[in-house]
């Protein structure tokens, strides 16, 4: 081959998606085998999905591929040639980049500054006029649209995700690995981001490898799929040729029905719905920056119903939940529980049976360094039968707390099953289970829940949804705030859409029009 043709092919390859093959990759952490001879084939310019439950080894496999921990056995082929990927630098040289589940952006800096910092070879003095023109030209070459001068802290989650992807494209990556890219996005944002990436793979400019456990996304965007289970290859194939049920079976290892939006009929539940438990009237609240976030919201929840609050993140849901939980001061309006003015005092919570499962429970509902037993006792450690004793001086009865914790751990399947473990050492799903166990252990009359299955795997999600359903059937009034529309459609009796701090749309779940919900979520309803 003469040098000219050779350089032409090399230059040509730079603008095309990479083909990647993993061959019998094995990775051990001590005695634990995280990956056991896993092989995977990702074709050039394809959109490949990596499916599996939490702990199946998906993240380990891609971390081997980007050089974070090199495998013990096996290796990788990029564009048909074997490459030893020992460090992130090696991966960067092969133009393989990864977008992590958690944002790695500097919130106090602008979009342009974040992009420029990713480049790494900054000049001592930055000519912003020149750099901005170059960045704008780069943005034009991609399908993504972002304001270069916007502060990252002011971006919505979907825009942040776009910026993370842009950072990798800016580095000229030919293979983009995405670790559950849509876990923090609304369905609309997810479709937009994945659709744009899908378009780039159609041009052959990019190969995408996406870790996911959402079948909807896999079916809509994937070309090929590789499924892992417990560190082993459970199956692979083309997306069109595998049914969702087959993929689910490979993923969890047994034949389980995938809940496909069990939409309830409004008729079979009207008799169960009782009196108004939570009544919010004209509520106003400011966000952390002091700007109005909840702006005159009216909402009521009756006994025996789940009211689902849908909405794009940042439309006041977080502030609403914080006001209801007593974490934030309302600036105006009224919250009544069972007809009484409610300030979220401990006495009122007890009197009215108000419980909650806030988002990020480790931060919002736990004392991380305390044990599981102590955390499970936070609601009632100071009343009989857990306090009192000698001369009624209010001594803790640790044994009673521990005994009750053991029972709850058993009933809710918290792992590890030792009540003395510090709760911060539990996995996300188990923290969620432990907090839910605490919140559902008393007579629940009103339950406020926010994003209860965020980042949880299939089994944990099912377990928590079952518990919520059960609490509702026992007559609790439940307010469920979630960014996952599928979850809301599955669980709610009534769905409301929150947009710009008010309820913009309301419908019984059985009659809800998903297209209308989407329009109102996007703020185009009126």
């Amino acid at each position: 081959m003469d040098p000219l043709t050779h350089s032409l092919t090399a230059a040509d390859l730079q603008h095309r998606g990479a083909a990647v093959e993993a061959f019998r990759v094995t990775k051990r952490f001590g005695a634990f085998t995280a990956l056991d001879a896993v092989s995977m084939k990702v074709e050039a310019g394809s959109f490949h999905c990596l499916l599996g439950e939490n702990g199946a080894g998906k993240s380990t496999l891609v971390k081997c591929l980007v050089g974070y921990h090199p495998p013990e056995e096996g290796g990788f082929m990029v564009d048909g040639r074997e490459h030893d990927i020992r460090s992130p630098r090696d991966a960067q040289r092969l133009r393989i980049g990864m977008v992590y589940q958690h944002f790695t952006l500097a919130p106090g800096m602008t979009v342009a500054e974040n992009l420029l910092l990713a480049r790494g070879d900054l000049p001592l003095r930055i000519d912003w006029r020149h750099e901005k023109a170059a960045l704008a030209a780069f943005l034009d070459s991609t399908p993504f649209r972002l304001d270069l001068n916007a502060l990252v802290a002011d971006l919505a989650a979907g825009e942040k995700q776009k910026l993370e992807i842009l950072k990798q494209l800016y580095l000229g990556q030919r293979l983009l690995i995405l670790d559950e890219p849509t876990s923090v996005l609304t369905p609309g944002e997810a479709d937009e981001v994945l659709g744009l990436l899908h378009g780039m793979t159609r041009d052959g400019r990019l190969t995408v490898l996406m870790i996911s456990h959402k079948f909807r996304e896999v079916s809509a965007y994937g070309d090929g799929v590789t499924i892992l289970r417990r560190g082993k290859l459970a199956g692979s194939g083309r997306v069109g040729e595998l049914s969702t049920a087959e993929m689910a079976e490979m993923m969890v290892g047994s034949s389980v029905a995938v809940s496909s939006g069990r939409r309830r009929c409004a008729a079979d539940q009207t008799q169960a719905i009782g009196e108004i438990r939570l009544d919010v009237e004209g509520l106003h609240a400011d966000n952390d920056r002091g700007t109005p976030s909840v702006r005159g919201l009216d909402l009521s929840v009756r006994a025996g119903e789940i009211v689902g609050v849908a909405g794009v993140a940042g439309n006041g849901q977080k502030e609403l939940v914080e006001v209801l939980l007593g974490q934030r001061q309302a600036s105006a309006g009224q919250v009544r529980v069972a007809g009484e003015d409610y300030q979220a005092s401990r006495a009122q919570m007890r009197r009215h049976g108000v419980f909650s499962l806030p988002e990020e429970p480790l931060r919002n509902a736990c004392v991380p360094a305390m044990s599981v037993a102590e955390n499970m006792g936070l609601r009632d450690f100071d009343i009989a039968p857990y306090a009192g004793g000698w001369l009624s001086l209010g001594f803790l009865r640790r044994r009673a707390l521990s005994r009750r914790a053991k029972a709850l751990i058993e009933a809710f399947g918290v792992r590890p099953d030792d009540p003395a473990t510090a709760i911060e050492n539990l996995s996300g799903g188990n923290v969620q289970r432990a907090v839910l166990a605490r919140e559902l252990s008393g007579p629940v009359k009103l339950l406020v829940v926010a994003n209860p299955v965020f980042g949880l795997d299939f089994a944990a999600t099912e377990a928590i949804h079952r518990r919520l359903d059960q609490a509702r059937n026992e007559g609790a009034a439940i307010l469920l705030v979630s960014e996952d529309l599928d979850e809301l459609l599955e669980l709610s009796d009534r769905i409301v859409v929150m947009s710009e701090g008010v309820i913009a749309y309301e419908a019984l779940a059985g009659q809800a029009d998903v297209a209308a919900i989407g329009r109102y979520m996007a703020g185009h309803g009126h």
Binding site: P107, G108, L122, G290
Partner: protein, 311 residues
């Protein structure tokens, strides 16, 4: 008393305040710019009070020994640099808290300065020169108000330079990234620990220079009550200025004016409550902190890694 007399008195009080502000603000300016650099990197150095005092002592001593006040300023800066390196290094160890290290450095710095500075209380060292910006005027009062020290324009220039550099230099961007999201900086290959140590050392250098001003220009002698908490107030000032060097300069002038309130009133013949008016900077600190810390709000513009802004 006539109206004319009133406005004359008010005018000369304003002049006295302006002069005081220009005179007293310099250490605030240097310490707050130093602290601004350090905090932009995601750490707080409360030890700047100790560095200020140590800088005052070492600057005075070197000026006395060498006969050159500029060598004194340099020595004070280098002393601060070493203290900054000490703070930066200690905080880089695992599980070491920057606030606690800062408080111990504050006590260490002042203690060391008092110990080594005993023989410096009596002799008179050569002072820093001043610029006569008011030479065009006949008014003695205006001349005295506009007699500024050489360090003040240098400090204002530095504020401009920092304001530009934070935005448009490689070092500025890297510094802000490290202070805003250390994990992201690490992922992009920026040396987080080295940048923080460097930023703390630079902050220490500037605080040391601020100290040299105290002993070599105004009040212009070495004694143990020299600083009276200016290093600590500068930390509050940075928060008030929302980590912006230009606003740091304005805030330093404001604090300077507050500090000059007591002497200015005294020069007008108002001696009642002299000590009360001298407390004005402390009252201002409290009021500003209360005003900038509204409950339920986070501080806009705060570096994300700063321990005091993290919930």
């Amino acid at each position: 008393m006539s109206d004319g007399g009133d406005s004359l008195a008010f005018g000369s009080l304003a002049l006295a305040l302006l002069g005081g502000a220009l005179r007293v603000s310099t250490p605030f300016l240097f310490v707050s710019l130093g602290e601004c650099i350090t905090e932009k990197s995601g750490r707080i150095n409360l030890g700047l009070e100790g560095i200020l005092v140590l800088g005052a002592m070492s600057g005075y001593g070197v000026s006395l020994a060498s006969g050159s006040p500029w060598l004194g300023v340099l020595a004070a800066g280098l002393c601060g640099l070493v203290m900054g390196l000490l703070h930066g290094g200690l905080c880089s160890l695992a599980k070491v808290n920057d606030i606690a290290v800062g408080i111990s450095l504050m006590l260490f710095g002042t203690g060391l300065a008092f110990f080594l500075g005993k023989p410096l209380i009596q002799p008179q060292a050569p002072m820093l020169p001043s610029l006569e910006l008011g030479a065009w005027s006949d008014s003695a009062q205006l001349q005295s108000a506009l007699r500024i020290n050489v360090l003040l324009p240098l400090g204002l220039l530095l504020a401009l330079l920092l304001h530009w550099g934070f935005r448009a230099s490689r070092w500025g961007l890297a510094l802000r990234l490290v202070g805003d999201n250390a994990a992201a900086a690490r992922a992009l290959g920026y040396p987080v620990v080295a940048i923080r140590i460097g930023a703390t050392a630079a902050g220490g250098f500037l605080a040391g220079v601020g100290g040299a001003f105290l002993s070599l220009y105004y009040p212009g002698s070495w004694n143990e009550g020299l600083s009276s908490g200016q290093g600590l107030m500068a930390v509050a000032l940075v928060i008030f200025a929302r980590w912006n060097p230009l606003r740091c300069a304005l805030a330093a002038l404001l604090f300077g004016a507050a500090g000059a309130l007591g002497p200015a009133l005294q020069s007008q013949g108002i001696t009642a409550g002299y000590y009360l008016f001298n407390a004005a900077p402390y009252v201002l600190t409290l009021a500003l902190m209360a005003a900038s810390w509204m409950p339920g709000r986070s501080l806009a513009g705060a570096p994300g890694e700063l321990s005091l802004t993290q919930r």
